[in-house]
């Protein structure tokens, strides 16, 4: 683990998906959902509860992780044993389930707060980072490591992968110069385990899918 306070993968991605100044979400709700869904599955892979092989999720250990969000997903996976395709699970969790789980987890640790916006068409409830500093944390951490030429740990590599897959890189990696970019890509290629590589690939395909079907 890295020295800085690293949150669970999905929490880090959620914070990264929010503007550091205004706290506004940088992704469309659909894309954010796909990112949250993939990140929660990623957490289960990191917890060594599931494997992702050939587009399918295999449960290798059904013990709760101790974390409510990841465990909720694991429970659901256990309940619906006949559904195994990663893409189906990403699509399903992206319908709001994943975002909801992550928001609740972040709210419990007081990193996000409920925000109600009254608009023309009624109130819109959203969760925004309680401190603009926090939102920038994960991305800054990745940029700092890359800047120093150091190795990212596996969760941060997955995070970087999902940042690229959701298109967030246009916000958080645009300050990286060509050399840093090359280093990051190189690490992704060499060090991201095959299962997580596949998961991020599936996440990216799901994001593209949503654009083609006008859901993004």
């Amino acid at each position: 683990m890295t020295a800085s306070a690293q949150l669970p993968l999905a929490d880090d991605l959620f914070l990264t998906a929010h503007d550091t100044v205004k706290g506004k979400c940088l992704l469309s709700p659909a894309t954010l959902g796909l990112g949250m869904a993939s990140a929660l599955i990623g957490e289960l892979v990191l917890w060594r509860r599931v494997d992702v092989v050939d587009g399918k999720i295999q449960i290798i250990d059904d013990r709760p992780t101790g974390d409510p969000a990841a465990t909720a997903v694991l429970d659901q996976l256990l309940r619906e044993g006949h559904h195994r395709a990663v893409r189906d699970w990403i699509s399903f969790l992206a319908t709001g389930v994943a975002t909801d789980l992550v928001e609740r987890r972040l709210a419990r640790s007081a990193l996000v707060q409920r925000q109600e916006k009254r608009g023309l068409f009624g109130a819109k409830v959203s969760f925004v980072p309680s401190d603009s500093m926090i939102a920038g944390w994960p991305a800054t951490r990745i940029r700092t490591f890359i800047g120093r030429g150091e190795l990212l740990d596996i969760p941060d590599l997955v995070l970087a992968g999902l940042i690229l897959a959701t298109g967030l890189d246009q916000h958080v990696f645009f300050t990286l110069e060509a050399r840093g970019r090359g280093q990051l890509f190189d690490q992704l290629k060499r060090r991201l385990p095959a299962m997580l590589l596949e998961l991020v690939g599936q996440a990216e395909a799901a994001v593209g899918d949503a654009v083609m079907a006008r859901r993004a």
Binding site: S28, G208, D209
Partner: protein
Amino acid sequence: MSSTATKPPQSQLSTALARDRLGVAAVVFFVMSAAAPLTVVAGVVPTGIAVTELTSISIAFVAVAVVLAIFAVGYVAMARHIANAGAFYAYISQGLGRPVGVGASWVALLAYNMFQIAAYGGFGAIASPLFDKWFGLDIQWWVLALVVWALTAVLGVRDVAVNGKVLATLLVAEIIVVVVFSIADLFSPNFQASSAPIDVSSLAGAGSGALLAMAITGFVGFEQSVVFSEESRDPRRTVPRATYIAISLIAVLYGFAAWAMISAAGDDVIGRAGTEGPDLFFNVASDQLGGRAVDLGYALFLTSLIAAMISFHNIIARYMFSLGREGVLPRAFGRTVPGTGAPKNGSLIQSALGLTVIVIYAVAGWDPLVNLFFWGGSGGGIGVLLLITLTSFAVINYFVRNPAGEDFWHRLGAPVLGSLALVVMSYLALSNIATLFGVEEGSKPTWVVPLAFAVLLVAGIAWALILRSSNPQVYAGIGLGARSASSVGGFSAALASTDDKDNQ
């Protein structure tokens, strides 16, 4: 420990995913809105009659519908088996090889762009006299074309799709107008049931290719039904049904409307089409319906064109997005605006192209109705016809190699029959192109349009062959679109970065 206390008996995953699925009606609506009924009936048909001096258009709609329905049997069957359904080049890549697929994708971009830009010209040409009539404003056609161009460009780049309900309401209103006006035609004092529009022998006569090319223009958009293969309630039923329903509806509606209009136009329909243009459709019914109804019809005509523009613009932007993701077009096209998911760069390029063409036509003083709207639309129609023909062969070849899961009729029967008919249609359309455009045999437009398609096809094939040797990973993903895990988005591009230094 579970955070969800209750455990419902049925699968939450299945029900949640099923909730978003589309039914037959939704798919039919989507397809019909791209087909823009009033644009075809009031725009393409009268202009076509004037330019080609042919009137057997109703039977041409029916003939094209039959051929497309046969083609659709294999087309929707293959859609169930491949990723990225909805793009002709995906079928062609997997049926006839990736190089032809890339060539086809470039041809498709040109054809769709021709439609898109034709709609700008049509809008300008049709709206300009209306603004004079309604508001007493004398506005050049290109000013109005630029206004709708700007609207499309802004909505496109922000990816504001026209709300489904608005689109459906407009579409229903359009269909009602077409039906009511056509029925009014039947009671016109000039009405005399004409046999010319349904003269079967015309399909074998001189100019038959021009009629068929004109008719196919009315159906473009039907191919989009398969985009929803993975999103429909029952992939084996929803999409095929919606496709056949859309094709039949279009044929019956357009065929009937064209017949009624020609029958009610009196003896000299060609002459009237020449002088009145798109007004013909409204004029022949006006004495039965009165000015209010005609004004309403015109208003819907304009909104129909705008809806068609926005929908084609979206199709083009997504086509480029999909090609950009695959790495066939520059990667920048495979990017979206994160906050909205809009495929921004494809949209911008389309808008730039549209602006260029409008400006060229305005400066050169070319006729926006005939030279832009009709030539662009029917030229695009020929492009789509050629793509459908290639796709039909691709379907045969694909099922020869992967016969599992489909019966003989879906795999071979219908596709072979369809391919033969499509080859004949393509031949006729290309050989009648002078009649279609209403120009001299051998004059510039008759060879520029086919040549443009041929050049793009060959260039695409060449580009694919270059990719095969220089970038095998990109080559392997051709035709799979954004829907496959091997596509080239930001992450995949990162993984492929040593093979390819130019990603940004």
